[in-house]
Symmetry: C2
Subunit: 428 residues, 2 copies
């Protein structure tokens, strides 16, 4: 707009010089000139973009957007922070969780982000972070690309305005995940991680299908319809349960979710719960990609009681997803070597840790059930939900009924067996 206004000033100057009778017109033109000068000042205060940064530097100067991130190396948290520029992350669903996850990864300087959504920004989204009222009417992918490229032009952004649950949308989704142009030498697919931030079962099943087919590690996230609980979950095809192996703790029970909106009913949402879930999701992502801390296989968030259950889920050998069964077979082939490594690690740990109580068998009473029978959490009378909705997470009370020897962590018989083998070894 600045160049435009400069040209206008030049035009006005030449207009002035060509005037035959400058009496009346001169003052009009002076008035116009001062107005244009004012406009120029206004235009100068409009957004400017920061320039790209060639290399991430740890230098502590106010102008370095990466100083606080590179400090993670000096603090001994991360070995090589700059590796983050090599990674591609796909985010499916740019809503209350996905948009914040995208902003966090952008500010962390992720190499490449792929964004998928088909929806438009509405004023009704303003109770969650990220989108702004002036973006109402834009597609979420366009609005997100605009904001994110302003925040960090170093990130390679690719956005796809499509619905992954349609045949065409799913095909484009698959081919975009396969595309290796960003890092041609990468093994497997073209992305390092897929984050599912969608709000319905159908879309989660589509992400699950794609990731099982591509042998692609992904993370699932969700927030309950009553806005006060949520979860994140890591899914590694063949190694952990896939989304079809174990029914999600969160599903609208049988009711077509689209009818909810149509009938003038909407789910509640809060920027707090979604911000926390996005934060836990991206923290888990950073831990996985940059190899620090412990990556959580599942982490729940019950905000009413500030309770954070964790657990692990094995794949279901009767899973209805054919690609999952393929991945399970492949995993079983490499399993003996991995088990040996786990036992060796446990032995090493056992030597340095004092004796304590071991897990009780299946202390959390968790069972893998067929996905044709979604697990229902009975709503208690005091916490009743409308018909067709179930709580995403059981209340903390329900977990607390089972006394825990360790913080809320449940594992499956698989690991139990390993522990028994370990005990046998230690008894020798």
């Amino acid at each position: 707009m600045e160049a435009e206004l400069k040209e206008m000033l030049n035009d006005l100057d030449s207009l002035k010089q060509s005037l035959p009778d400058p009496s009346n017109l001169a003052s009009s033109i002076l008035k116009l000139q001062s107005r244009v000068e004012h406009l120029t000042k206004l235009a100068k205060s409009a957004p400017v973009r920061r320039t790209k940064v060639q290399d991430m530097s740890a230098e502590v100067v106010d102008s370095n957007p990466y100083s606080r991130l590179m400090a993670l190396q000096r603090m001994g948290i991360v070995d090589n922070y700059e590796r983050i520029r090599d990674f591609s992350v796909a985010i499916v669903g740019i809503g209350g969780v996905g948009s914040v996850a995208a902003e966090m990864l952008t500010r962390c300087g992720i190499g490449r982000l792929l964004l998928y959504d088909y929806d438009k920004v509405e004023l009704a989204n303003m109770n969650r972070l990220f989108f702004r009222p002036e973006q109402v009417g834009m597609t979420k992918t366009d609005a997100a690309s605009q904001t994110l490229s302003d925040i960090n032009p170093d990130v390679v952004l690719e956005s796809f305005t499509l619905n992954i649950t349609t045949v065409q949308g799913f095909e484009t989704f698959m081919s975009s995940l396969r595309n290796k142009s960003f890092r041609p030498n990468k093994e497997g697919s073209g992305v390092d991680l897929v984050l599912s931030c969608v709000d319905n079962y159908e879309a989660r099943m589509a992400v699950n299908q794609a990731c099982n087919e591509l042998n692609q590690t992904w993370m699932e996230s969700g927030v309950s319809e009553d806005a006060v609980s949520g979860h994140i979950q890591l899914l590694i095809p063949g190694e952990t349960a896939c989304f079809a192996c174990a029914p999600p703790l969160v599903v609208a029970s049988g009711v077509d979710e689209r009818t909810l909106k149509r009938e003038g009913v909407c789910a509640a949402s809060l920027p707090t719960t979604m911000g926390v879930v996005a934060g836990l999701l991206v923290q888990n992502t950073l831990k996985l990609l940059l190899q620090f801390g412990q990556v959580s296989p599942y982490l729940g968030y019950n905000s009413l009681k500030d309770f954070f259950p964790t657990m692990e889920m094995r794949p279901n050998p009767q899973c209805s997803n054919a690609a999952c069964l393929e991945r399970q077979k492949e995993y079983l082939l490499v399993k003996p070597a991995r088990d040996a490594a786990i036992i060796a690690k446990m032995e090493a740990e056992a030597l340095s840790v004092p004796e304590g109580p071991l897990h009780a068998d299946n202390e959390w009473n968790i069972s893998v059930v067929d996905d044709s029978e979604p697990e229902r959490t009975d709503a208690t009378s005091s916490d009743a939900l409308p018909d067709g909705l179930t709580r995403e997470l059981p209340a903390a009370d329900e977990f607390q009924k089972f006394p825990a020897a360790e913080p809320a962590t449940a594992t499956f018989d698989d690991i139990e067996e390993l522990r028994k083998q370990l005990d046998a070894l230690n008894a020798d």
Copy 2:
């Protein structure tokens, strides 16, 4: 800018009509007109603000910014969501946590926000959420007011560009908290809650002093220098420990924090940890103000292990803060009635809950010590931090040394005594 351009078009029209010789000038002016028309189109795509909303409605339409919040009532989570418009919240420190907390409260439609900071936006802040590169150089209070009023013009924003640790700054801080113009009938101070989102000990002590003097409930928050843990804490003068009663688990040990920055060293920070801490802080705020769920007295976040310790801290009768001792005396006067109520509630609960193990005495080994001896968490060899810094939270391992009968919650002898009295009553 649109009005400005419209006037310019009018001016050009009258200029055209007053022309004595329209030959050459006419085409110049036509050119100018088309340029201004183009500018008008550009200006129309520039930010527009959403209009104010008189009453919060639960109507499910795309244009309702509050539909997803009012749904909390229908879901049975909150009795009266619209009450949020009555509340004033003061946020001290508009950095990585405070800015996100302010945005969350703004999007939730809080009545009034008071913002305090003296710092300016720098590119080095871009690794945390909220501020944008085009705001570099603005004060954080100005930049925040700009963004927040665009997001939700219904919120009454008051910003104070000052340092509360100076004499003048502290006085302005105090008088702004006392100001009751927003809700003249309110008891106590003019705000419902103060959120401390500062990054240093001195500023926390200033907030503590102000809140003790005003008998003002507040919440403290913090993130460790290594960016991977944080906490929130509720402080009720006289009832809970004040910030001077118990040394914070987080302090830079003895080193003047300002020297850290000066010497080319900076703390690490992550948008994830800060987003989670802001989310937990504002969630606790919503629970306190709108009376739902359980308000956490203290909640830690150890992101490396996804461990969330909780505890309660009683006031220290030897606290060095005179105003705290005053509040403790006042609280002791009303305590007998409150204890009776707690016992009655526990009895009612005991009738409906099966017998289980009670707390072991001081199972977490937590003790209240004088603030002249800050508690030190010894850095382990594998997790060593640079000189002058201590971890904000002990690693999860350290907590796990003490087997827990219940999830990580510690209470003090005070409540223990109540439980003993309850046992005695039940034994009758």
